[in-house]
């Protein structure tokens, strides 16, 4: 595989042909904010946090889905990009109820980390806070729609890694909700294998293991790397 050289934030970096800007930058120690991207899953370009400026291109591009090119000049952290990212996080915090003090994931939440990292210390927008359902029908896991940011990581891990395709998104716009099967309670889902992958990839406290109290839950992403690497190396094929 051939190598590409490009400039990211004034730094010359090398990347493999076909690599995305996001992953090449990450490998070189430049961490672009993200929520919907998770290594090992397909990309959808939905959260728009990883947008970057590419010299010579009119529009901002999602770095998680844009491949590197020779001599590309990329800026990942301009004042304009930072302003956009802060506003996106504010929009999320105003969209549904994200009161950290009563969340199982307090202290280990990607949304919380991002807000801190971007300096979002207050929200200038009107909170919408619709009263959404909490599905506790599954015997081991729970789903709190109030904390869901619709990143669709759960949908993708279930479909692409577990192969069950239990999750999907129903409704549109502000009425979008993740659903299990055709909208049955999670506990009644015929396709769910109770593997818990969705819970581990969920960036917020929307998907959680039962029996955890406030700030008690931590998520394990190691399994995904393990499975994906093993698959690539065909470790399971005798």
């Amino acid at each position: 595989m051939s190598v590409r050289t490009l400039e990211v934030d004034g730094k010359m970096i090398t990347a493999l042909e076909g690599q995305t800007i996001f992953s090449a930058a990450w490998d070189s120690g430049i961490h672009i904010p993200r929520l919907c991207h998770l290594g090992g899953l397909s990309d959808v370009g939905a959260c728009r946090l990883c947008l970057v400026e590419i010299e010579g291109q009119k529009r901002l591009q999602p770095s998680c889905m844009t491949k590197v090119a020779e001599d590309m000049v990329v800026r990942t952290n301009t004042p304009a990009l930072r302003a956009h990212r802060r506003l996106i996080v504010e929009l999320l915090l105003a969209e549904r109820n994200h009161v950290c003090s009563v969340c199982v994931l307090n202290g280990a939440c990607e949304l919380q980390d991002l807000a801190a990292q971007l300096g979002v210390d207050h929200v200038r927008l009107r909170p919408q806070y619709p009263k959404l359902e909490v599905d506790l029908s599954h015997d081991r896991f729970g789903l709190d729609h109030n904390r869901c940011i619709l990143c669709t990581r759960c949908v993708r891990v279930c479909d692409e890694v577990e192969g069950a395709h239990t999750w999907d998104v129903a409704g549109r716009g502000k009425n979008s909700r993740v659903i299990t099967d055709l909208g049955e309670p999670w506990g009644e889902s015929a396709s769910c294998t109770s593997c818990g992958k969705c819970v581990q990839v969920c960036p917020t406290g929307a998907l959680f293991s039962k029996g955890k109290t406030v700030a008690d839950m931590r998520k394990d992403r190691g399994f995904l790397r393990y499975i994906v690497t093993a698959r690539e190396k065909k470790l399971w094929i005798a």
Binding site: A46, C47, R48, L51, H84, I88, E95, R124, R126, I149
Partner: protein, 548 residues
Amino acid sequence: MTAETLRQTRDAELERRKGIKNRIACCTVAGCESAGSGEVRAALEREAAAQGRAGEVEVRGTGCMGWCSRGPLVRCSSNDTIYAEVTPADAPALVSGDAGRFEGRALTTEHPFYAGQRRLILRNSGHADPERIADYIAQGGYQGLLKAVTAMTPPDIVAEVKRSRLRGRGGAGYPTGLKWELVARHPSTVSYVVCNADEGDPGAFMNRSVLEGDPHRVLEGMAIAGRAAGAEQGYIYARGESPLAIERIRTAIEQARREGLLGSRIFDSNFQFQIDLRIGAGAYVCGEETALIKSIEGKRGQPAPRPPYPPESGLWGHPTLINNVETFANIPAIIENGGDWFASIGTASSPGTKVFAVAGRVQRTGLVEVPIGTTLRTILSDICGGVPEGYEFKAAQTGGPAGGCIPAPFLDLPMDYDSLTRIGTMMGSGGLIVMDTSTCMVDVARFFMEFCMDESCGKCIPCRAGTVQMHSILERITRGEGSEADFWMLEELSALLREASLCGLGMAAPNPVLSTMRHFRGEYEAHVREHHCPAGHCPIHASEEVHS
């Protein structure tokens, strides 16, 4: 079908018409249909038989003749006159040719409504029956396809379309020839042609009327595209809410197949092309090309980031040529008459004509087709008769929820892609809504934002949550509860939506806000600072001196 049989079909139809003294064509497009054109047509047929003139008077359906607000419209070929507001009681007079009772309802081609128009897309309206392929052929139909298949190579066709400088009529105005070239040059052996008939702007019915009134023109354009792009399969993506258009497309596809104008060995060549219909459930975002592709594939109709663009990777990952209904409808005449002919109509940068659906506060509303570059004043005053007595023009909205407004000082602006973009609106698909001084521009912005909020697919955060916030701010302002901070929040959110949204819906959602703020800033300020709606439209209750 061969060149020979196409000529025979045409000659036979023209020969048959020689014996007919008067062809009475009833509009059978949705607008007139709902005004009762079905009963009128039945009455005309009964009357022709009753007067014993069934041989010399022929009653037919036809496409949209434009002045929809005065429907049902009926055209008589004997004196080339269109009659308005026809009722079944008019049937005897129409059949016998007694024009006396149509005082004020008879419109000739000299009437300003028609004299100011140039009809290419709507050429067959009033002349051909959309349910008869012979009518289309008699009007010169399928000659473009014949030429494209028998006398031109695919690169010739692409070159001709490029020479015409035709731009896509779906909104963005992308050069059609360049798009065709991308697909034609792609090395893939499989490619597709897709007709975007999802028209979903509030109040727009240009595409629907073309499909209901002249469906073969669109099929012919698609088949020519198939020949140019090396595609063997085409899809028309229409919305389920237009049952009549769907029925007409089905009938037309069936007829074209039977005549061998679709299918294999078209005009005895190796060219084969099929068209199938796909019906959407009416989500506005499914008109966006990547969402439309997903929907045809049977998936959730949500946009995907571009690049890759459809000409590179579209339906099932194959190169796909997507054009709007009206774009395809322009193609047959371009191939038949040449790109230079087309380029001579309209303006140098935007040639051809554009169909507008004119609605709102003007005397005559309906479908109007004019050369691109015609001024707004000509369309509104000359063709549409101006605003009625007692009202005053305030602004016209173009481009629907993605567009903006044109205020009175710009009435002499030529309506072309670039001029409209320059003043902060866009051509869009052709919706043209005329507003008078009783309309509140803040409320107009709120209305379109509500539309975008409801139609946002929810995939990306800026659009899903940003439209909700912008709508809530605008609503607050119309209630007289806005604050100064709302102005810069609107601007900040607008910048985010424009620059960071995944698809055109979110990118364009702020346009009506920005455009009304640009031209009518004072109205916003009056709502916020004086708790007063200058148009007298918003229900703001005085006495609430809370924002001191």
